[in-house]
């Protein structure tokens, strides 16, 4: 109900801005896993998502939507969080494939997270292993509708529920060193005793 009320208050300028936003989605496809294979057909001649103004961008600063295309290992998760926080608002996240929902084929892996939504807010989750380009286009079209209607505001959740996300991120990344400038060169096996509490 609150959402509907908020929609009524949207002025003409807001609608125009949302029209610009929906017709010019720039994506950063952070290619983790198999989804990297499904995106080239979507971007090239056969399905050509540039029809909707969707083009790949090289850096997170220029991107509107982050595509997480496949399984996310702990090392990858750290970079995904960094990229997500580097993107300026408004920003959206699309999660592709079974692996981002409940682990998929890596459901009992020691190094792959099972649910992406626990760590960053996800706007649309698409099923498939991997989704076909048609499903990718369908998801992006849904995202365009959501932007126009003001539904796609998961990035606001990241600020509101930051403690929850931060807690989950810390829980799984606690066991990992910083990305840059890691000076931990001692044997991992030697420092095993007593460091790990359940």
């Amino acid at each position: 109900m609150e959402d509907l009320k908020a929609n009524d208050k949207r002025s003409y300028i807001d609608n125009l801005i949302d029209f610009f936003r929906k017709r010019s989605i720039w994506m950063l496809h952070y290619c983790t896993g198999c989804g990297a294979v499904e995106l080239p057909p979507s971007m090239t001649s056969r399905w050509d998502i540039e029809r909707f103004g969707i083009v790949p961008m090289a850096t997170p600063r220029q991107a509107d939507v982050l595509l997480v295309t496949g399984y996310v290992s702990l090392k990858t998760l750290k970079r995904i969080i960094k990229i997500y926080e580097q993107m300026p608002e408004p920003k959206w996240v699309l999660a592709f494939g079974s692996c981002t929902v409940n682990g998929g084929i890596y459901w009992d892996s020691y190094n792959t997270i099972t649910n992406l939504a626990e760590y960053i807010p996800v706007d649309i989750t698409v099923s498939g292993c991997m989704p076909r380009p048609e499903a990718v286009i369908d998801a992006l079209q849904t995202l365009m509708e959501m932007i126009q209607s003001g539904e796609g505001g998961a990035y606001k959740k990241y600020k509101e529920n930051y403690e929850y996300y931060k807690k989950n991120q810390d829980r799984v990344l606690r066991k990992t060193a910083p990305i840059l400038g890691s000076s931990e060169t001692e044997s991992i096996y030697q420092e095993k005793e007593g460091n790990y509490e359940t």
């Binding site: 090392k75 682990g103 020691y110 099972t114 066991k175 991992i188 096996y189 095993k192």
Partner: protein, 158 residues
């Protein structure tokens, strides 16, 4: 000079190691831990100049790790599997980085996933698992299901 498989087996038998004939271009050799370096130096001297890979296998019931050094020769076209067994309680083995430089990454990886210590290798820093503090994950006594439930909250239905 190209040696055929039989003469290589002959040469290795003279050195006193146990040789198993597997396939037309593959033989398997069981060696002792103390003999490893001598054996590999000998293989290299007779033309086996490519180290393809190093495996580790966890035989948890026998309390041993088996390390397999895959060595290939471009002149003889023979693939030799050199199998070494070491104790699971004290997994220490001399490094072969001085012999083949590419062994650095294989040893780093095996150290990371099995916790085997390669004596003399200066850099055994982790490649994939940053700051891992549990049992090395590819050991047989590491329970991945339990671990993924504990850390990632995975749903296990059976």
């Amino acid at each position: 000079m190209k040696l055929d498989k039989e003469s290589i087996i002959e040469l290795l038998n003279q050195k006193g190691v146990e040789v198993l004939d597997l396939y037309p271009n593959q033989i398997s050799v069981n060696i002792k831990k103390d003999n490893l370096l001598n054996h590999l130096v000998f293989l290299r001297s007779i033309g086996f100049d490519h180290l393809s890979f190093i495996n580790a296998v966890d035989f948890i019931d026998e309390g041993e790790f088996e390390l397999v050094y895959h060595v290939w020769s471009y002149t003889h076209k023979i693939h030799v599997l050199n199998k070494v067994r070491i104790s699971r309680n004290n997994p220490v083995i001399p490094t072969i980085v001085n012999l083949w430089e590419q062994a650095q990454f294989y040893e780093q990886e095996i150290h990371e996933f099995f916790g085997i210590i390669f004596e003399g290798n200066k850099d055994l820093s982790p490649l994939f698992l940053e700051n891992w503090v549990d049992i090395p994950p590819l050991r047989k006594d590491f329970d991945t299901k339990e671990f993924s439930v504990r850390l990632f909250g995975a749903e296990i239905r059976r």
